[in-house]
């Protein structure tokens, strides 16, 4: 379970995220959508314990991320938007370090690293220093590191950037698998096709406010769109103009937000 309760973060007087509340149930894949600078990354950073909110609560697996950080962090995995790794370590040494930190047992780590590296075609590069990795390879290593301990909550910030089509497909399969295992997955993306085909729920954020949370059919209903309208059409309608939708006519809070 991932839970944000009235999360607020201001930079000076500018609210980057304003009283945002959302829930992602176990087994659910939640796609976080919004224009550039809408507050997606700030929200994720507050949920994973990177950026302290000015007010509100962030909970993961029932644990408050800011009150009980070590236990909460043990239950989550995170793929940041900008990937930077230890260039002096090999991929295998990095994954071994992560497995030690999350206390993954010897046989489990061998099985998981072997399987995930194989799926992402990274096995042949595991012995090489990460300074030699391409952007896509670094992204794959980060995704494997986030999934190595089979976390109860998984946060991914634009995870498909830099991935080749096959690896993007592998990631989608793995995320679905994690949901089937009971993990709550929150992923931010600009690729609306991914959200439309994969997400159990979508959340649309604009100017730091969550405008909608629900399934794509619910969004269609909410926007009074025809059956044929795509997520792209609905997203563009909801986030049109420079002003937050909250200041425009219409309901501010989505049905199940």
């Amino acid at each position: 379970m991932i839970e944000a309760v009235q999360l607020t973060r201001r930079y000076g007087s500018l609210p980057a995220v304003d009283s945002l509340s959302l829930q992602v149930a176990p087994g659910q894949l939640f796609c976080f959508l919004g224009p550039n600078g809408a507050g997606k990354t700030t929200t994720i950073k507050m949920l994973v314990g990177l950026l302290k909110p000015n007010s509100g609560h962030a909970r993961v697996a029932g644990l408050d991320v800011w009150a009980d950080p070590v236990r909460a962090k043990a239950a989550l995995g995170y793929v940041p938007d900008a990937v930077s790794l230890y260039s002096e370590l090999t991929g295998l040494e990095f994954l071994d370090l992560v497995a030690d930190i999350y206390r993954v047992g010897a046989s489990d780590r061998v099985a998981r690293i072997g399987r995930l590296a194989g799926l992402f075609s990274l096995t042949a590069h595991l012995g090489q220093p990460m300074s030699s990795y391409s952007r896509g390879m670094r992204q794959k290593a980060t995704i494997i590191a986030a999934m190595l301990h089979e976390p109860a909550a998984l946060f991914l910030d634009e995870p498909t950037v830099g991935l080749d089509p096959r690896s993007a497909r592998t990631l989608k399969d793995l995320l679905r698998e994690a949901c089937d295992r009971g993990a709550a997955v929150l992923m931010s993306t600009h690729i609306l096709e991914v959200a439309e085909t994969m997400a159990d729920q979508v959340g649309i954020i604009h100017h730091g406010k969550l405008l909608f949370q629900g399934s794509v059919p619910e969004l269609r209903e909410y926007q009074h769109g025809p059956e044929s309208s795509s997520l792209e059409d609905l997203f563009l309608q909801l986030t049109q103009g420079d002003q937050p939708a909250a200041e425009k006519p219409g309901p501010e809070v989505a049905p199940d937000a």
Binding site: Y11, A16, G37, G39, T41, T42, K45, V48, G49, L50, L51, K52, W66, P69, V70, R71, A72, K73, A74, L76, Y78, P80, A82, S84, L85, Y86, S87, E88, L89, T90, L92, E93, D96, L97, V98, A99, D100, I101, Y102, R103, V104, G105, A106, S107, R109, V110, G114, A117, T123, A124, H125, L126, G127, Q128, P129, S131, S132, Y133, T142, A145
Partner: protein, 564 residues
Amino acid sequence: MRDFQIVLRVGLRIWWRRASVRRWKGLLGLLPALVLIGGLGVAMGVGAFHLFGFLEGALVGRPELLKALELNILALYALITAVMVLVNALGTVYATIYESEDNAFFLSTPLRAGAVLAARLAAVCFGNVVAIAPPATAPFVAYGLARGVSGGYYVAVLGGYVAYVLSVVGLAALVTTLAVRFVPGPRLKRGAMILMLLCLLSFIFALNFVMFSLDTQGGPLPLLQRLANVRIGSLEIFPHVWLARVAIGAGTAEMAWLPLGALVLLAGLLLGVLIALAPALYLGGWASSQEAARTSRGHLAWTRYRAARRGSAPVRSSLQALFGKEMKIALRSPMFWYLLGVAPVGIGFSIAQFSQRHAAQEISTGRTALLLGMVLVGSSLSSLMFAGTSLSREGHILPLWLCWPIQPRAAFLSKVLAGLPVPLILAAVGLGVVSRFLPQGSFAPLLAPAALVITAVVSAVVALDTITPNYKTTENLMSSENSFAKVMSAYLGLVGIALLMVIFSFPGYYHRLPLVSGLTPGQAVVCGWGALAAVCAGITYGSFRLGTRAIGRLLSEGDPGSGA
């Protein structure tokens, strides 16, 4: 020319903007280096002035010997300049020519590759000419002052110096540009670091060899004769002799234009060849520098790992895992090995000279503290620079690091513990070597205070870094972005060692302190060692508390600088 101006203008604008943003911090970071270089220049100038004055007085009626000695001395100074420029240029040439952030942009535009390279070279040349100027030109200025020469001398020497530095930079750039074409970037950087280390070590060895082998018996005249016979100034085909000849020629109103012309020609030739070859070498070389050195060890590593981890291998604690990571990163960093090579060798020679001087006499407490201080400085310099930037260097991976479920205690201790093995081993070896050289007995008992001091100082610099981290510090410790942190860590560590040595040498000065002057020498030794142990324990514990609290705050409150 237009292309060159465009690239140069952008470079200057970026430099100026960065300098104005980091005004105070930049100045503070530069201050120790400026003081060091300025102090070195003054020391070399004053020393050279007295030396030339002494030679003139001592060799009245021996003009040939005087001239030979002056040529030798000036040629030696020129050679030292070449080593300094070469060591500096090997690092800066690669960083400026191949690692500038805007290379990809400029090389993809219609600007000529030669113009981009020339603009980069101009920056490197200017940096080297200015950075080395105080210690490199001081002996030549001192020679002019000692001989009371006209203003033309200084103009000729300045021209010769600039041309000489440009020649060395040109040579370093040409070698680098050729090497980059065939060797991937990471390997080349390691190679450059090893080359720099070898240059410095060779120079330290050669200088100490000359000093050790000079027989000072028989008065100054035979010694001066022997020095004149070293013939360092007679290697006419080398540019360091040309620079010395420019000075001697201009100083004695002889022809100086020939060696000066040769220097200018050499600099122009090297830089001209480099720019002419730029389309063929630079573009391909830059692409090669971006390539990573990949090996075919991937599958093998995985197979070995799987075999090693099969069964019930125990899970390491966070502390063990983080400690292992810190050690691996340090031991794989060329900069670590560079410092590890230079500092102990430099200090080793000082200890050897100290041993030679005090072989026959009893060593006082003060001298023992000096000896221990030298061993500690030599053994811990590299670790201090690493330990003092250990949290800052996590800046690039902070989003992941802060999400890991690690205890502040494990994070802090891993960084302190990783800073200990190398200096402890080196200190033990250093004390063993001293015991071997000096007949006064074993210095092995000094290992205990050495361990205490190293632990305290390393803990303190780690704590300081955790309290005031700079997450802009890059992972590569060689980068100029890190100079402030590096210099400050080393500086604070060295000041700490010096202060602790003052406590350690308490038995040497206690009788001057009215409050404790009644102690017996034995009691004073116990007091000195006890005070050192107590202060070191206090520093270590205080650093642990402060550092753990700072990391705890970071882990529980996030990074305040982390925006959306």
